[in-house]
Amino acid sequence: MKIETGITTSRRRVLKGMAAGAGTIVAASVVPTRFAIGQQAKLKLGLMLPYSGTYAALGKNIDDALRLAINEKGGKLGGREVDYVTLDDESDPAKSADNANRLVTRDKVDFLIGTVSSGVQMGIDKVATDNDVMLIIPNAGVSAATRELCAPNIFRTSFSNWQPAYAMGVVAAAQGKKRAAVISWDYAAGKESNDAFSEAFAKGSGKTEQQLYLPFPQVEFQPLLTQIAAAKPELVYAFFAGGGAVKFVKDYAAAGLKASIPLVGPGFLTDGTLEAQGDAAQGMETTLHYADGLDNAKDKAFRAAFKKATTRDADVYAVQGYDSGQLLLAGLAAVKGDVGARKDLIAAMAKTEIDSPRGKFSLSKAHNPVQDIYLRRVQGLENRFVSVAVKALADPATGCKMA
């Protein structure tokens, strides 16, 4: 139970003299007595996550793992008690700005944490930027958040859609594939993912010959599967998540395409869905910043702790929630809970190297993880680690003025 990052330690020394100890003392046990004046108010975290609907399980895992990270360190952030304000974003982009505004103006949260859906994320981003509120994105991969819309107060602990997709393009090209089809829902995340795959695939002299999209969140895939069968590509790259991923993978196999045309995608295609996908997913290869069977002590400890706290198995969403908690811990420890010291807070967060269950990662100048992307293969109910697809992959951060 120590503050583990060296950067945080030195930061604290610079900021607040030596009395706080050399960063090895549990912050929570020291601070309340020392900062009794003006710091007693609880630190408010506004968790805007999907607690209902298709992404409910994802939101729950993020929420639980974030609390786990904070509770492991005494339940406090920079010495302050934490008040969790939760709000169901319903994965509804239309309500996103209103919901985020409620957390910011009514509940006056110090941090916004959210969310899963990229569509909803755009609304949250806008509110965070307009009100200059600290924001941590625990999942949504919409590239713009750490590209043209990047901002000092916006951090992401997950990934950009570009990252796993690009890595899969690299893998597919290395396998010698030349002709691919891409398929997704007709929305921002799907298009970004498919384009990033095509970008890397083209660098390896492959060509994306077919781009198929259907309206979100429709799950009647048969017409597009028929299109794929007619075009006979060498590989299909698909971006779907949740219930859609389950149905697509099953329909793909049932249509008899799995045997002749490998189906690949970012990890979300087979993450948290394997039980429902059954045999249809066996042997599928996907790329993601997390995998089962990573040989890493932090991961083992985290999985055991998460299982103990929730009785559920950890997954990539839990890891992202946990790392959001770790990022909060590091940042607020550096400023001893004083969110008013905005510059120092942001600097400390940006410099933190997070000891994540996925493996250590740092943040890019655009505040997006620079991380290894793994190639995984479905085996039973696990996405087993196969190899590192691309090491320390950074999103290009095109258009971000901080990068």
Partner: protein
Amino acid sequence: MSDAFIFFLIQLLNGVQYGLLLFLIASGLTLVFGIMGIINLAHGSFYMLGAYLAFWFAEATGSLGLAILIAVPIAILLGLALEVVVFRPLYGRDHLYQVLLTYGLILVMEETRSLIFGDDVHGVKVPSFLDFSVPLAGGLSYPTYRLAMSAICLALAGGMYFVIQRTRLGMIIRAGAANREMVQSLGIDVGLLFRVVFAVGVALAAFAGMIAAPAASVYPGMGNQVLIISFVVVVIGGIGSVKGAFLASLLVGLADTFGQVLAPQIAGMTVYVLMAAVLLWRPTGLFGHGT
């Protein structure tokens, strides 16, 4: 036959097959909407309920067929209970009360679902005797279960046609849809009719969920996805007309399929464009009765 023509035929099959499934879901809605005048927003939730019941009992008994046999009576009983307890007091009131009530039912059922089954996605195994595919052209094969679903939907459509057109009950139902006051004044127990129709509506939605469960998988919020498209089918077909719902389902299935194939950029709109066009031409839907 050229390849292009074969794939056109396959797409036709896709459209018809999707349309038949839509009919299964929408038929209960059109009955309840047309005869009782209830805007049942919870219809999708009954669909979800059916899927989860199928998942639950199929896990427990190891057989989807057995699961359906157990689950259908449960759905009917639930429909009867809901009609007696929550819907009956609202018949005399404005539509808005029903909208509120049925919207509340959605929330209650989603939460109950979350408490009992959690928020994960579940799969239901296709019965082993249907768990294979029929090879079509170009390496594509058609899952037998989908064909079986179509057959079930057709059989059900035939059964409904028979009941509604050829039996006394059907005559009363048709009369009730056309003119409720007249039926009542002829001495027919409208209360009983409503109870039966509502229970059947719930059972149809739940049955659709059960049949669709192996193909569509079972997940939170699955009912809300089918709700809107079901209303579109009902409106196009004409409120209260099962025949209209059947035709509209096929139209919507085909429009959606060929929309995706021929005009992917506007695929999300094709169904609604179709609805607008039909309503311009026939404001009460294909087989609707003027009010």
